[in-house]
Symmetry: C2
Subunit: 333 residues, 2 copies
């Protein structure tokens, strides 16, 4: 038979109301009592009924992950890491896709079609203003994701995108590349792309190389990587190394090189970003920056759950780690 | 200012209750009235507030897509196709991952941790019994997905997996392959794998070839495709063509062939199943069976919305189409 709040209350020597508060409003319960009751909850395996919980305190048990595109492997990898973190707290992940549409991103945050449904939001937004984010974070639990400066005081988990781009570029330089390209700059970016451009530029300047010689815009998908790489290779005096700002563009770039008989890594070394599985099985396995997705998921959920439980205070910034994984695409020729 | 139910009621000359019924319980409204009110709803752009809707009739506006794994590209492709179909009905997609765990699949269906939250479920289950599915379909709106015989009377949308596997195998035979392998059989499968084995076996028998000579089990991921293909190639007298039961295994198999200096398609032609984007940019672009995912999404949502609106009756079976897309992996050598 399922363990009830009454069972927990009896075993812990507290009222059912206290058990309910520990589950739903832990900030209201003293630290010692909270600890004792939580220990009994864990020991008995008590799982609060989310429907009853919703009726009592207007919570749904649902956490939204709001991302620009669901079928980008980085986001589905991240969702896969988030699910166990949420499941052990009896929370369910809802994935909502915005296509980077600022109206839709705003709608999720401002009591539009869906926001009343969620207890909290993990937000990776492309086009929100700092004011949008500040206003939303003031009224509901939000944790921001992604290597960009939202310019807002809200909890935020990300790796250091500038350092990661610097490491990727240093690797190409140390390998002996001298004509190094970068694919993925964006015309008006204050976000992910800007950090990657900054890290790339710093490493190139330090090595006395021109960062702008082979710097190109890109759309973060395979088709764009293939098209941009194709143009670079067809233009004459092609690069001998390229840092693509995500793995999808790197995979497209490798395909374009392959189509032109350019040997990877002998004629062209390629580095990506994200460490998606696809890159591990490419015909030349892909060197890439691997963000610590488990850490991102763990830290983001921990902070969000604290906000849901009533924590107030200024936004916190957590840096997750990353690793440069060297594979065939930039290995020995 | 937002259009309200009152605006619609006035314009259509009906009560607000009737407008609400057209939105929430269309089965209760006469066909002519329903049509007239719906026309006004469309004209004025009325969007019912899902929170108020939830309060009135215990609906959340959430539809769950329940799949074994979120980070399988086929499922994220499918989710991408479902979102616009649901959005235009003011419904939100929730993705729930079961890992194929029968307990978790059952929990979603039987009033467990999450089912009370959803208006309806799109279910791709690996390990449920016919009795599980029948019981669940009797109490809540469900549409089944996936090329398997659930053995239950419930709405179901799928392509004909046997015919698709037959077409893939015929292609290898017509191309001139005579030592044709298949990767993806499963020991106890009554589902997807069984249909693909059946279609493969029929085509091989018709051509006077032995279907079992190079038939192997597989786990539907890249690592498994690479390992199984590696064994086939290392065993001596290797196949000259292989039908992998999904694209991920085909990509792994191509990588294993590449590692051994086996030229694709000259020495080995490879065909996959699913048409994920990854295959289009592989070093040999992948020949594959492309299910009509848009049609699957469209038909599944249409049937589910009817069930949510109160449609009763026996389970309906809808066949979506597929296409064999021939690319480099089985093209001219």
């Amino acid at each position: 038979m399922a363990v009830t709040a009454r069972d927990v209350a009896q075993a812990a020597g507290v009222s059912q109301r206290t058990v309910s508060d520990v589950v739903n409003l832990p900030g209201r319960v003293g630290a010692e009592t909270r600890k004792r009751v939580q220990a009994v909850i864990d020991e008995l395996g008590y799982r609060p009924n989310p429907h009853a919980r919703g009726l009592r305190n207007n919570r749904s048990g649902l956490i939204a992950l709001v991302v620009p595109e669901l079928d980008v492997p980085y986001f589905s990898d991240l969702a896969r890491c988030l699910i166990p973190e949420l499941t052990k707290r009896s929370l369910t992940l809802v994935v909502d896709q915005t296509n980077g549409d600022p109206e839709r991103e705003r709608a999720v945050l401002t009591g539009g079609a869906v926001s009343s449904t969620f207890d909290g939001v993990l937000l990776n937004a492309l086009n929100l203003t700092a004011a949008d984010v500040e206003a939303a974070a003031a009224t509901q639990p939000i944790v921001l994701l992604g290597e960009r400066d939202y310019g807002a005081s809200a909890d935020h988990v990300a790796i250091d995108g500038t350092e990661a781009a610097y490491a990727a570029t240093r690797h190409l330089i140390e390998r002996g590349c001298t004509r190094i390209g970068a694919i993925g700059r964006q015309a008006r970016s204050t976000g992910t792309a800007k950090q990657r451009v900054d890290g790339f530029t710093r490493a190139m300047h330090e090595a006395g190389l021109d960062p702008n010689r082979y710097m190109a815009e890109g759309e973060y998908d395979r088709a764009s990587g293939a098209a941009v790489m194709g143009e670079m290779l067809d233009a004459g005096d092609p690069p001998d190394g390229v840092f693509c700002f995500n793995d999808l563009m790197a995979l497209g770039a490798m395909r374009a090189a392959w189509d032109r008989g350019v040997d990877i890594p002998r004629d062209l070394a390629v580095v990506g970003f994200d460490d998606i599985e696809d890159g591990r099985y490419a015909m030349r396995s892909l060197t890439t920056v691997a963000p610590d997705k488990e850490a991102i998921a763990r830290e983001a959920v921990a902070m969000l759950v604290e906000r849901v439980a009533g924590h107030v205070g200024p936004g916190r910034r957590v840096r997750a780690g990353f690793e440069l994984i060297v594979r065939e695409s930039s290995g020995p020729a």
